[in-house]
């Protein structure tokens, strides 16, 4: 019986993938195989629902170089479905494996379900304007973004086998310096409150106003793509949107952002969305829970003043 194969280079993500992987396997009455790289916590993967763990070890620090070996493991298992952690490295590996094996690939699926016995995914199209539902071909690879699912719950009574194998070395790509990106601010992806600024702000010196409000309500500051990429007022990793950060705060307060769909898609998992913009017709208002139509240079100082009391 063909099963479900789960892989991420990040074991934290693998544990999240086991959540959806195990529940699909239960519905389909099949087994789950997880592949882990250079990891010792194979017991943690078994406790979270894997019947079999393949521990792949290798000496190349560049995990993308293991794609061939991972592809071989997948081919040997011949699974019904392959779920890969949708990190950038994961998507890189997934696409190459899909090409080598003529498999379908659905990136950044929002969900995988069994509908009338068939596997179905939903994913976004047109910058988040639409949702595409597709029925998967056999052996399809699906990537799921980190934090889409909680880690699977553990059950220490679960049993499973561990198979160790060695990755083939492939040194076609030489990796030189690896530098962590130093973030000047806290990670937006985990922020509880976010204030997001757009081109409604007329100059960089007005960022002070936004910073004052952020301090008042305890928020991190993000921005629209043009503020980061065209104006460079904030670092690239501060921009929220389809190709930037996707955030899930409790409160998302946008200031001077018109709200094109590519931007909104990055914020739409927020619990409450608030918009301040002078253009009544700005699309951000149709995506907002609360909105104030007006001049941000009047409204933001007033908010700071009233919150100060």
């Amino acid at each position: 019986m063909k099963g479900i194969f789960v892989y991420s280079e990040d074991i934290v993500v693998t544990k999240q993938l086991l959540n959806i992987g195990r529940s699909l396997a239960d519905v389909l009455q099949v087994t789950v195989t997880a592949l882990a790289l250079n990891e010792t916590d194979t017991a943690g993967l078994i406790a979270r629902g894997a019947e079999k763990v393949i521990a792949l070890s290798g000496s190349n620090p560049w995990v993308e170089s293991y794609a061939e070996s991972i592809a071989e493991c997948i081919a040997k298992e011949n699974p019904l479905l392959v779920i890969v952690g949708g990190t950038m490295r994961g998507k890189d590996v997934a696409a190459r494996i899909a090409a080598w094996h003529s498999r379908g690939l659905v990136n950044s699926a929002m969900s995988i379900e069994v509908v009338a016995g068939e596997l179905e995914t939903k994913r976004m199209l047109y910058g988040g304007l639409a949702v595409c539902t597709e029925e998967l071909s056999e052996g399809c690879i699906v990537t799921i973004d980190p934090r889409t699912y909680e880690e699977a719950t553990t059950d220490s009574l679960r049993n499973g086998e561990v198979v160790s194998c060695t990755a083939k070395s492939n040194d076609a790509v030489l990796v030189g310096g690896v530098c962590p990106i130093v973030r000047e601010r806290a990670d937006l992806a985990n922020a509880e409150k976010i204030i997001c600024v757009g081109r409604g702000l007329s100059s960089q010196s007005d960022m002070k106003l936004v910073e004052d409000l952020a301090e008042k309500i305890g928020a991190e500051i993000g921005c629209s793509r043009s503020i980061a990429e065209d104006y460079h007022w904030l670092p690239t990793e501060s921009y929220i949107g389809l190709s930037g950060q996707k955030v899930k705060p409790q409160l998302y307060l946008s200031i001077g952002i018109s709200g094109q769909v590519q931007h909104i898609v990055g914020a739409r998992d927020a619990r409450v969305i608030v918009a301040i913009d002078k253009n009544e017709k700005a699309p951000i208002f149709s995506a907002a829970d609360y909105g104030i139509v007006g001049d941000l240079y009047e409204i933001v100082p007033k908010l700071i003043e009233k919150l100060g009391k």
């Binding site: 560049w62 061939e68 592809a71 071989e72 990190t87 950038m88 490295r89 890189d92 997934a94 696409a95 190459r96 899909a98 090409a99 080598w100 003529s102 379908g104 690939l105 990136n107 950044s108 199209l125 047109y126 910058g127 304007l129 639409a130 949702v131 595409c132 539902t133 071909s137 399809c140 076609a172 790509v173 030489l174 990796v175 030189g176 310096g177 690896v178 530098c179 962590p180 990106i181 409150k193 309500i217 990429e229 065209d230 690239t236 190709s243 769909v261 590519q262 409450v272 149709s286 995506a287 907002a288 829970d289 609360y290 909105g291 104030i292 139509v293 007006g294 009047e298 409204i299 908010l303």
Partner: protein
């Protein structure tokens, strides 16, 4: 059997850049002609998409791809840039736009199959076209397209051609049959070096696309375009059929309160907002 191509994957690209090749480099900038999502509306009262007013455009990410290729050629006159696309008959208009951005020649796989192509089919078609074209040292792609954002065609093509892929690149430098690239991967940057030929996928921040001037636009119509039909590419039938079955494409509707304060003084509006946020436990 399935894994057979793997054995030859990296065998033909190491340490054999011939001297004459060092003096010339062909960059192929791949792009997709897409519907402008700004013009797509959700039909009121349904979840259907109305694309009837949507105009076409070069996918946003791919404008950066063409630009980066052309910037490399402007730095080094041994570099030749061509553009390659797979699209239906309407994609004809894209070639003028693409060529006005600097490539010297366009390649167009013109087939209605593009309308339903997924990443699997697109990669098979582009790979076959690249083999037909024959001359490529560096093949550039965007990280994804602005319509489907499938994020796979670049590395798929690399795998099919058996050459390395370096994905999510923000900076690249060419020298002596090699490319040095800086990738941006989540929370780190990574400097990598690969021998050519190679596929590189670019993040939009790599450069800012130019706006072509009148002279460039007029000049573009004089540049050569080579057209292929799917039948010219000797593809097996199964390689032109999408893998998954699309069941529906529906507008995404957000369920939000939409309480918008338009009238009243600044004081009143701010008070109402603070009251609402307090009630929601957010202040």
């Amino acid at each position: 059997m399935l894994l057979q191509p793997l054995k030859t994957v990296f065998s033909d690209n190491r340490g054999q850049a011939k001297p004459e090749e060092l003096n010339h480099m062909d960059i192929v900038a791949c792009y997709k002609w897409v519907l402008d999502e700004q013009d797509i509306k959700i039909v009121p009262g349904s979840l259907l998409l109305d694309t009837s007013r949507a105009k076409g455009k070069i996918s946003d990410y791919d404008k950066n791809v063409i630009e980066e290729a052309v910037l490399q050629a402007e730095k080094d006159d041994t570099v030749t840039v061509t553009a390659l696309t797979f699209g239906n008959a309407k994609a004809k208009q894209s070639l003028k736009d693409a060529l006005s951005r600097g490539p010297v020649k366009g390649y167009w796989v013109n087939d209605a199959a593009a309308d339903i192509a997924d990443g699997f089919v697109t990669a098979n078609v582009l790979t076959a076209a690249l083999r037909k074209i024959g001359t490529y040292d560096l093949i550039l792609f965007g990280e994804g397209s602005s319509d489907a954002y499938g994020q796979q065609v670049g590395p798929r093509v690399a795998a099919l051609l058996g050459i390395p892929a370096v994905t999510f690149v923000t900076k690249l430098e060419l020298s002596e049959g090699k490319v040095m690239a800086t990738r941006k991967i989540g929370d780190c940057t990574e400097d990598v070096t690969v021998n050519l030929p190679a596929v590189i996928t670019l993040l939009p921040e790599v450069c800012k696309p130019r706006i072509p001037g009148l002279k460039q636009v007029l000049g573009a119509s004089k540049k050569p375009v080579q057209e292929f039909k799917l039948a010219d590419l000797d593809l097996a039938a199964e390689n032109t059929l999408p893998k998954n079955k699309i069941k529906s494409i529906q507008g995404y509707v957000m369920d939000r309160k939409n309480e918008i304060y338009i009238d009243g003084t600044v004081d009143e509006k701010v008070n109402t907002l603070i009251a609402s946020l307090t009630k929601d436990g957010l202040l």
